[in-house]
């Protein structure tokens, strides 16, 4: 199962991700995103891809699990 990740170093807190997909991403006190669902459930895979594409900073990514 894929995981959604956020690179805090380049995130600027636009909030489009948690505005659009609260089932995957929430926000903290500073307005920065927090991934709430790990790994991404199969029925939300399309939503996750859309969220990655909408980030103005390209701070979100879908990553494959590392091989055990």
């Amino acid at each position: 199962m894929q995981r959604l990740t956020v690179d805090r170093a380049i995130c600027a807190g636009h909030g489009l991700c948690y505005g659009s997909a609260p089932e995957l991403v929430d926000s903290d006190e500073q307005g920065d995103p927090v991934i709430v669902t790990e790994p991404v459930p199969a029925d939300l895979a399309g939503t996750a891809r859309r969220v990655v594409a909408m980030c103005p900073e390209r701070a979100l990514a879908l990553v494959e699990p590392s091989p055990a």
């Binding site: 600027a12 807190g13 636009h14 505005g19 926000s27 500073q30 307005g31 859309r50 980030c55 103005p56």
Partner: protein, 418 residues
Amino acid sequence: MTTTPSDLAPDLVSDFDIYDPTVTMPVDRMQERTAELAERGPLVWSTAHGGHWLVTSYAQVHAILRDPHTFSSHPNNLVDAGQGKFLPIELDPPEHTSYRQALQPLFNPSRMKALEPRIREIAVELITSFQADGRVEFVGRFAHELPTRVFLALMGWPLRDAVLFTEATEVALNGRPGDDPEQAVASRTAAAQEMFGYFLRVIAERRAASTTGRAGGDDITDAILAAQVADTDGEQRPLTDDELARMFFLLLIAGLHTTQGSLAWMMLHLSQNTAERDKIVADPGAVPAAVEEILRYEAAVAMGRRATVDAVIGDVTVRAGDQLLLLLCAANRDGDEFDQPQALDVGRSPNRHLTFGSGPHRCIGSHLARLMLRIAAEEIHGRIPDYRLDPDDPPVVLPSQVRGFARLGLRFTPVGAA
């Protein structure tokens, strides 16, 4: 050595001046003018205001906004209102960081979301006040009023003070109508001083109230008064009166004028793209994406940056000390980032517009702005969905680094008062 026009090919030099009233009056040609600049190249030199680079490409604007070490945020403004630095937008990291962290929680998404019922109440009250008339001057009756009332409620300042802000903010941005450039500087300075006087009175009253133990406590004014920032030596300290006043001034200019503009542009462009409007009338669920498209289609802000070192951007060398002006309205219509950028498409996805900026200074009020725009769109399209421009009252758009509306006359089918 900073850049001079003689260093450049003639086609890279322009006299474009973002403060020139003829750019937006009698008809707003900002998009047309900046698209012409974009055709010449991603960076074009303007001879106005002592000379500066005009940046129009999405990729370059985005890169510059995210590189505060090479491109300082001071000065942001090509013209000066004698106000000193706007805080915190004219600070660079690391100094900027603690101001940002102090302010950001006050405008975070969950706090803003809690305002939704109050914002909706104000929006409905405003629409109800004119919906039976069949016509409205939308700026005065709605686009200005909604963000102003929300801002005053957030700050905990009296509504009666709005008149003072409205005029002084306008003059601080644009000077007075008919001013020559020298008079405009004097007008701006006087307006800025008037605002500072007001803020210092508010601050003094709040400080007095807190020492006598009758502080209200939960509005943003008190929260900012209680905020701590890190000094250069890392010590935490409260903000000084002067810093507070400059921060309030920024919140006011950044919060009111911009939202007012986006609300007016929503009406202007949807009235001229009725097939797109029909989609949100038919389905309120389409509103959030439509709000993003309205935001992309017309960005009010053109922020300044100054190169701290020589830097190569594409084919152009920017020299240390050169001023830059980032034209967000042009970046948002860059065909390398957006398909069919000149088309208003309320379902556009992805829509990575730069209207709220990018990088460390990204708009702190974006969550509030989105909320106001969404609620306004829902309530307006549920009540007066067939609005059109009033041929007898054409739109009046003002230029400057925060472009905005002075008037927008609309007509619509009258609706019985609720």
